[in-house]
Each structure stands twice: as C-alpha cells, then as structure tokens.
Symmetry: C2
Subunit: 652 residues, 2 copies
C-alpha cells in the first residue's frame, strides 16, 4: 500500500477518506468515498455541476467561468478542477445531496485498497533477479598468438566458460558471420549476449565491441484482440522503462477472434492478419524505444502473450480449427524464434518466446496471468478472471488448476454497447446516480469530455441503475421515471438513459445507455458468472470456498468490486479477498522476459491447467440462463444485494 498523505472530510454527511496521492483530484476522491457530487461532463470542467465549497485546508483549483468571483472568494470550486494539497473539509452543496434515507440503498463505500490500480511490480522483479533470461557477458580476451591460435569462437567460448562458468552455448550463424571483425574492432574486448531459450538451450545471439552490459533491455508484449500493449524492461534493474500500446490493426479484419479466424480462411487472409499484428507491434516497439531512448540493438529478448487465436495469427499458424468443434488449436507450446523472422523491425539477434496456451479459448494471456498472479505458487484457492473479449476463468492453487472460457462477448470491452469503448481517454470509467433526482456523477479517464463508456463504467451503469431503480432486475428501464427526469426517455431504439448531454461530450449526440446495451451487459456478466459457477461445480466446490479472487483484463482503470457483486458479475464474497491484477498478461510476459525460471514456470502452468469445454455443456446453458438477472435468479447467493433491493422495495 502507498503511504497516506491527506484526509478529506465531506460535509454534511461526515464522510472521511484517506488520500494517497499528492495533488489528487477532488471529484475522483468524492467518487471513491461514495459521496455523490453531480457531474455530467466526466471531469472536463465544462458542466460546472460539481461545485463544492472548501471549508478548510490547502488546495489548488483552476480558474473557471462557471463560478462567479464572489463564489470563488467564498471557497467554492469545481471538484473536478481541484487538486488536494492538504487535509480538507469539503461541503457538498444541497443540489448534489440526497437524503440519508436512501443511503440504505447505497453500497458500502469502497475501501481504497479495493479500488485497485495494477500492482507496480518493478521492485518485486528486481528482487527476483536470480536466473535471468538474458545475460550480457563482458570478455577481455587475450589476442591470438602463434602458441594460441584457436578459433575466434573457441577463444570467446573458453573465456565465458572459465570466467563465468557458461557452457554449452550454441552460437547463431549471424554472430559467427560478424565475429572475426567484431573481435578485432573491439580490440578483443567484447560483450556477448547469451539468451537462455528454454528447450533450445543457451544461445549466443550477439557479440559487440566494448562493454555494453549496462544497456540490456527486453520486451514484453501483450497481444490483445483489440489492443497491443508493450513494455520495455531494463534487465539490469528489472524496471519497466517504457510502456506503450495501440489498437491491434487487425481490427479492420474483424472485431473478435471468430471474425479474425473467418478472415484468415480467405486467400492471403492469414498472411495479411499476421502482417497487421506485426505492423502494430512495430509501432509499439518503436514508441517504447523512443520513449526510453533505447537503441534497437540494445534489445536482446522478447516475450509475447496473447489468446490462442492471437498467438496463432502472430506466428502464422492456421487458426481454422479453433473455430470448429471440437475446437482444436494447432499448438499450445511454441519453440523459441527470432523476431525478425516474423517481420518485426528489430535487429536479427532479438529472440522471442511466446507464452504457451492451454486450449483454443484459454491462451497464453491466461498462462501469463496465472504466472503474474502466482496462483500456481499459492496454497490459496483462487478464482482468476480475465474479462476481455472473452471471459477466461482459472480456478485452483499450487496443486491443481482448471480453466474455462465463457463466450462472454465484448460488452465490457465496448462491443455491443452503443457508446462502449476501451478504457482510454474520454471513456467514462466511474458513474454514480443520485437515487432521488437521477442525476449522474461521471468521471472519465483523463477527465476530458466524455466520448464513450468503458468496462468499469458499465459495471457502474448496471449497479447504479439497478440500485437507483432506473432499471429493473431483468434490465428493463423504468419508464415511469420519464415523468421525473428528462434523462429517461424513449429514444430511437427504445427506452434509454442520457448519461451526458451532447454539448458536454466529444460527440455530436447525447451519450445514452439503451436497453439493448443493458441486455448485452447482462448477458456478458451472466456468462462469466455461469462459467465460474460450472467450473467450481466441476471440481466439487462452491463460491464460498474461494479464498482469493483476482480480476484481470479490460475492465478499465478502476473496478468497484462491490458493484461487480451487486450486478452478479462477481459472487458475493468478502470484498477484501478480491484484488485487481491489471494487465496480468503483460505482467506475466514481463516476468518471463526477465527470468528464465519464469519462462519455465509459464510452461509448467500451461501443462498444469486442465481446460473444461463449456460450449457443449447443458449445465452451463442452465447456469447462464439463471444468471441473466440482476444480480441473479438465485437471490440466495446474493444476500447483501437482496437486502438492498428489499430496502428499495424492489423485492419482498
């Protein structure tokens, strides 16, 4: 946990919250504290609704035309434009407040430790440095003489053996081709790069003049169906020196893995898809190198992780049978390779390793995720959920693991939701709805004008709509509310709720949530819950047996665990056992890029997981249908939510 800096108390409800970051945004803190402050521009400062009064304490706020000079002098400011610089007492104006009576309907405030940003693993990586995947060795060789005229290669090999105990190294031809000149150009002082490819053994991939040990980098790449994320790591420190991401340019050939597979079966389709993903990666890699001012030749090794289809497309393997029952991938384990051989724009020496897959719909991203979260090393019974385009689930511990994939659909990634989008700038990531006047409190990523809604925002939508009574348990919008608020209305495609009015968005229309959006979100969450349920049953366990839940994937920066429980995406468990792992696919790739034993562990993980095919399971279909309700048709599994709904009078 980071160190506490300040405390903010919100009046008149006397709600206090600890703040951990210098200059934290006040609207964001109110959101986390569960204090409703009207806000409909996402934090961009354009709606002027989030007016609060600072009664005490140090802060910094941007000037705004939304407040009069008199108001400013009295201590009023826009919460979204205000940074916290000390302990604060803040008064929430009456227009943002609602009666305490409706608080019963409210969720408990989310403790900050359950609003989890991805763990920063650099320091932990550094501590792990024991068995690096790539090592540079400096060699100060004795020049050849009449009495000692063995081969250049032999000279270097013998030095590495004697000085560093490094033996049985296979040398790439490319290294041999340059060696005689490099040794002499470096006046017999050179640095040799040795990559410990699992299965292919130690390979000398590069020899360059001088001592370059201080500049050793590797790449970790998460090959998402929608987004490619890359990380550049300093092997010496174990720290990430740059991060970059971009949309997978395969998107134009299909939004999801199924449509990509369909495209791959067209003439030249597979090749085109392979080139596309490599093109995106090349852009990401160039950005990483540029950001960190690292030369391409200073990169030695790379680890890639993606779902099974993405992995096969990247490697140019035919994914055809992933899509056809009984869903057979070409391979789950892959030999080491050279990045340049796949068209990546890095020097020919850079070696690659691809995270092994488990099955057609449980890929290397999951293997990497398990590696990153250490499920395979822990005695705790853990549920791991990676919700992206599909929902992949792993349940197990150090002794056994089972996996399944729910064809969740891409709702939480923005697909099937009218204004759905990925968790990037302008995406609504947090929402509160005032249960009295139905006004929303909205925060966007980057606090820019909203242009859509991302995964965590969608969970908020379902939960807040249900708790404020905007929708019923089966997801239908309460049409009676049209009389109370103009935000509920009959739109072109049926009933809808206006999250943001057009003039406060980056769009040329109102940003709405419509009934089909809600339907899709319920189907997605239902599918994931049903998959977890079936998987647990398959090993004779139930949700109450879980000792840990780890969330990963495209939920967005903030996921509110209790809201995820409120909608029945997560089971109702003690919130403290739930953690958010962030992009665990990337984190696992980073680990494997840095450490040889982690590469091996990754393969062990893939071997250890038993996949269970849900698509043909009748039990799954029954569970799925039962889960198409907020939170669930079996309300006994959600006692807290049942209490809330009872308090609302929504159920009896």
């Amino acid at each position: 946990m980071p160190e506490k800096r300040y405390t903010v108390r919100f009046e008149p409800d006397d709600v206090s919250i600890d703040v951990y970051r210098e200059a934290e945004n006040l609207l964001r803190v109110a959101m986390v504290a569960g204090v409703h402050v009207n806000a409909s521009c996402g934090g961009a400062g354009t709606c002027g609704k989030c007016k609060v009064k600072i009664l005490e304490g140090e802060f910094r706020t941007k000037p705004t035309a939304k407040l009069s000079d008199a108001e400013t002098k009295q201590g009023y400011c826009l919460a979204c434009q205000t940074e916290i610089l000390g302990d604060l007492i803040v008064e929430v104006p009456v227009e943002s407040r609602y009666e305490k009576g409706v608080l019963a309907r409210q969720l408990n405030r989310v403790a900050p430790e359950h609003v989890l940003a991805p763990a920063r693993l650099g320091a932990e990586f550094a501590a792990l440095r024991s068995d690096p995947a790539v090592v540079k060795y400096f060699a100060a060789l004795t020049p050849p003489s009449e009495d000692n005229n063995g081969s250049d290669m032999g000279r270097l090999g013998q030095f590495l053996k004697q000085e560093y105990g490094v033996e049985q190294v296979t040398t790439d031809f490319a290294v041999m081709r340059e060696l005689s000149q490099v040794l002499r150009a470096g006046t017999w002082q050179v640095t040799a790069t040795v990559v410990d490819d699992i299965r292919a053994g130690r390979r000398m991939t590069h020899v360059g003049p001088g001592d370059t040990r201080g500049r050793t980098y590797c790449l970790a790449i998460d090959i998402g169906t929608t987004t490619i994320h890359g990380s550049l790591l300093d092997v010496n420190s174990g720290e990430e020196v740059a991060h970059a991401g971009d949309y997978n340019s395969q998107i134009s050939m299909g939004e999801d893995v199924i449509s990509r597979i369909v495209h791959s079966q067209k003439a030249g389709g597979l090749e085109a898809l392979q080139k596309r993903v490599v093109k995106t990666m090349n852009g990401v890699i160039a950005e990483l190198l540029d950001k960190a001012e690292v030369a391409p030749g200073e990169v030695s090794h790379a680890v890639f992780a993606g779902n099974t289809t993405m992995t096969q497309l990247f490697l140019g393997l035919n994914p055809k049978y992933i899509r056809e029952a009984p869903y057979v991938p070409t391979a789950n384990f892959f030999p080491p390779f050279k990045l340049a051989d796949l068209g990546l724009a890095v020097p020919p020496q850079v070696t690659g390793f691809v995270a092994p897959c488990v099955a057609s719909y449980v890929g290397g991203d999951i293997t990497a995720g398990v590696l990153a979260t250490g499920i395979h090393l822990s005695p705790l019974l853990t549920l791991f959920m990676d919700v992206g385009t599909n929902g992949e689930i792993v349940i197990g511990n150090q002794d056994w693991m089972v996996s399944a994939s729910a064809s969740a659909g891409p709702a939480f990634e923005g697909g099937g939701v009218k204004f759905g989008m990925r968790a990037t700038y302008g995406a609504i990531e947090q929402i509160r709805v005032n249960p009295e006047n139905f006004e929303p409190m909205i925060l966007t990523i980057g606090q820019t004008a909203p242009k859509g809604i991302c995964g965590s925002g969608m969970i908020d939508v379902l939960a807040e709509f249900a708790l404020a009574g905007v929708i019923s348990q089966n997801g239908k919008i309460n049409q009676d509310l049209a009389a109370v608020t103009n935000r509920v209305r009959a739109g072109e495609t049926g009933w809808e709720y206006v999250l943001c009015w057009k003039d406060q968005t980056q769009l040329d229309q109102d940003l709405v949530i419509c009934e089909p959006d809600i339907d899709n979100l319920i189907r997605t969450k239902g599918s994931i819950y049903a998959a977890c349920s079936v998987l647990l049953k398959s090993v004779g366990l139930q949700f109450t047996d879980l000792e840990r839940i780890i969330l990963a994937g495209g939920f967005g920066h903030y996921i509110d665990v209790e809201k995820a429980m409120a909608i029945g995406l997560l089971p109702e468990v003690a919130p403290e056992i739930v953690t958010y792992g962030g992009n665990t696919s990337l984190t696992g790739s980073k680990l494997a890029a840095l450490f040889r034993d982690k590469m091996e562990e990754m393969e062990a993980v893939a071997t250890m997981i038993t996949n269970i095919e849900l698509s043909a399971s009748h039990i799954f279909m029954d569970e799925y249908v039962a889960a198409l309700f907020l939170p669930h048709t079996r309300m006994e599994e959600f006692p807290l939510q049942r209490e809330r709904l009872k308090a609302m009078g929504a159920i009896h």
Copy 2:
C-alpha cells in the same frame, strides 16, 4: 577382396597376375603386373604401340587399322583395346621388352591389394544402424473429439511419446504452419520426420500425410576446393543410391584456398563465393536426386565436410584471418542449420550439419576422414595423409591425435605442373618408362586420348624417371639422353620429356614433363614428408613406429604405394600397412549423415586432435630442405631405394 576371375601370364618374362574384374583391360593388367608394354596414347587405341600376341585364352578386342588382317589372324591385338574373358597367355613383342638385367632397378610388382580402390562401405554402414540421425515415425492418430480436444501438436507429440518413446522434440514453425491441414489431409495418418541435431536436440522437421517411412534419404557432401562430391543415401538400407560430383564453380575466383580468401575480401566477394559453392552443390544435388529418382521432399538431412576455408565460405563466415598469422579461423564447430537458409535448392525442412574443423588448415574434411577410417577407435598408431591442394596429416590412435598441414601446393592436384590436371577422363594416371629405350607406357582414366596428368601419374613420373635415369636425384633431366631418344629434348622452358606426341593427345601440342614440373612435384612431396617427419618427432616417434598408413584425397584412382616410397613421398615401410581410403571426407560425411553417434564422434574427433603449426617452425624448414631430393638426402631412411639406385649406378 573381390573374387579372382582369371589369370594372365605374360611371356617371355613369365609374369602372372590375377584379374578380379570381368572384361578387365589387358593394358591395365600389364601395367599392374609391372610388365612394360609401349603405350603412348593413354589407351585410346590411336598410337598402335601396345601390340601384343594372345597365345592362348578367351578375349574380346576392337578392330583397329593399326593391325593388318594377317596380324589379327595370328592373334595380335592392341592391349589397350582388349578385354580379358578368360585365363590368358600373352606374348609381349620384342619392341616393348627390355632386358632382365635392368629388372633389378624395377620396383617389386605391386600386389593388387595395394592398388586400392576406395572401400565400399555400404554394407558396413548397414551394420551400424543403431542410432540414426534421422527417423521417420508413422502416426495413426485418434481424431479429436469433445472429450479429447488438445492441440494438433500435442496429439502428435503424445503419440510419438507413447508409441515410440520419443520425447523432448522441438518442432519447427514451418511444420506447425502446415500441421492442421496435413493431419486432416492425411485423415490423421501421418509421418513425422525427427532429426536428432546434436547440440540443438531432437527437432521435428516435417510432417506429411500417409506412411512415407520407406522413402527416407540423406545427403553427404564433400566440399573440395576443386571438386564437390555428393552422395545420396537411403537411410533405411544405409546404402548409397547415387553419387555425383562437379568442379567447385568458385574456381573462377581462385584456384586454391588462399586466392579464394583474397577474393572474399573484395566487395561482395564473400557473398559471391558463398553463392558459387551453393550453385555447384545445387547442381550436384539435382543430379543425385535425378539419378536415384528421389524427390527433394524425401531428403531429410545432410552432412557437409570441407577444409576450414571451404567450410567458412559455404557458411558465409569471413575467412580473412585464416590467411594471416597466427592463422585463426572464425569457428571450428558449427550449429545445425537449414539448407534452404544457405540458398540450397531443397525443401525448407532439410537440416544440415557441418563437420567440425581442427584449425585453419586442418578442416572438417580431415575430421570426417578420421571418422571414416576409424583412427580414433583403433589402438594402431596410424598416419593419415590427405593430399589435395594442401597436404593434411594426422598421426595418432584411439588415445591421442596430432595434426599438421603442409603447404604442399597443388602439384598432385594438377597445379604448378604444366599439363597437370585432376583425376578425370583423359588424365594420365599410370606411367611406366622402359629403362632401355625410354619409351613410356601410359594409361589414362577412361582410356581416352591424354590431355594431362593427374596425381598418381605424377608419382609415377617421379619414380619412373628416377629409376630409368631420366632425371637425377635432385630432379634435373639427364641431357645426355637426348642422344638416345627424341623424347628428351630442350624445350622452350628448359629441358623436358615428351610423354605423348601431339597427334595422340587431345591437345594441340606435345604433352611434356619439364624441369619446373619436376621441381614442383619434389617440393610437394618434400613438404608432405617433412610435415610427417616433424609431426612424428613432436610426439617423440619415428616412421618405424607406424602401424598403419592411410592415404586419402586427390591422388587419383590408383596410387602405387611402392612408387610413392621410391620418390620419398611416403616413408619406406612394409607396403601392406599402407591403404588407400579414397574420398574419406565424403565417407565420413556419409557416416555422420546416417548416424547420430557418428555426428557426435566427429565432434569428439575434432576436440581430440591437437594441431601443430608448421609454418613458423625452423625444424620444419630444415626437414623440408632435406626432403627436396629423390627420395631424400637422408638415404638411410630409404634403404630399398638406395639399393636400387646403387644397382643403377646412380649412387655408390
């Protein structure tokens, strides 16, 4: 030994010889029997000088205008045009005979077992088949089902493990790329090719539909400076199914390794040389496949052996420092590779292994040669000599081996000798000189009109000229003979001996041996003998300690061991300890192509050999100068030759 077929007795000298081949050539048999029959057209049938009379027995002879009908009726024929079909009694006409008195000067007749053709090793190979380098496994897989939907690769891997105990196989991406289609095209019945690359481990290099185990081939290629020899082997039988060879088209960029290295240092030179040798190999491989009616896809593996420079040029490694003191090659051991990556026109799955080298001038051809001749497995103290462009020497046994390279110069390969040529059609390979009238008896390879003289012919030239008194012990032509025979004359470049008159050659001039030729031959043989001598001394041994001498390389089809001793190329040892190994570089490559343990043995051999650099050795220079004499300045090392020369009156 082959089975004896016939006996031929030559009259009037009552010399008998056993003949082992059906339809053997009569002139060739006379040559081997040490019976002089004038013959100056090499056996082409044009000079008409080799007239003999068949007194008894069955034979077949070609009609010739060189004999009258009367002569033919009396049983006369041209020996070179006559095939032996039964036991014969042959009378040598007076014009070919010489007095028995001069027989004392003659060498003992060479026993047939010392006129050795390369051993046929096919049968021995077949007996060795225990640990093949390449294996095809047939797999009849259970198709995937809902309950058993692991990956295609996993299915195949598991079958190989369960059925054949084959584990830890790395699979090439190329195989994975085709696998899903191949398995289904073959209705789950496929053949997997597994190559056991030493160092890189087992690799699955190909999977094809159906059962193709019966068609498994590999290649062995000897990369000579002058000639590329290839062999296609049936892995199932261990037999060679085709042999082919061609001139190394690098020749246009330099005759010997030094000039090739010089060329490699020009812009684009190395690349051009690499392409040239690959081009020649592609031709050889195409010929091999064509001859044996084997499809390129049926070839799985290849082993290459060449001297260090040829090896580096083939692999595209810079040979620059091989030529500069202290003579350092880039590498002596090479990782496995794909032939197609080097530009060879074979399917991408074909894997290659290159015989390891010992030093800059003791290459993979020698390592392969030692492997082929089994020196490293024998307790016998062996001298191995491979005389090509250089003379490489190995001395040792199963416990230790030392090597050296004599910069012999290419005299025995045809270089530095006016009419020198490789041992191909038209090359004079055997010569006798009548010590009374100085008329020659000449045989060419293919018995076509002569166009030059090859290695074994050159040894004959030195020995016969010395014994007939055509030259003195220091290699000078006896000018007094000009009065006796028009074959000895002052030519344009000094004194010379006419081996063939222009009209009986394929040339437009007389085919002569001149003094500079003799000088070069003496330097070459002297260099080789000196190298052997120094190498023996370096390990505290002498020639009399040798238990076996193995000759290899470009001497030509027939080498007369006793003549080689007579000129001081070989030490005077019991002739029965000398054997001719033929192209041992190719034989060793064949062994390694067939057997994994032989590949490993090859690397062990290269590690085991200690190379001794002669170029800077004063002892070598002294030995070399001492050897520039026929047979040697230390006549006590050649007692037999000393007796002969004494009998001739050449020494006292």
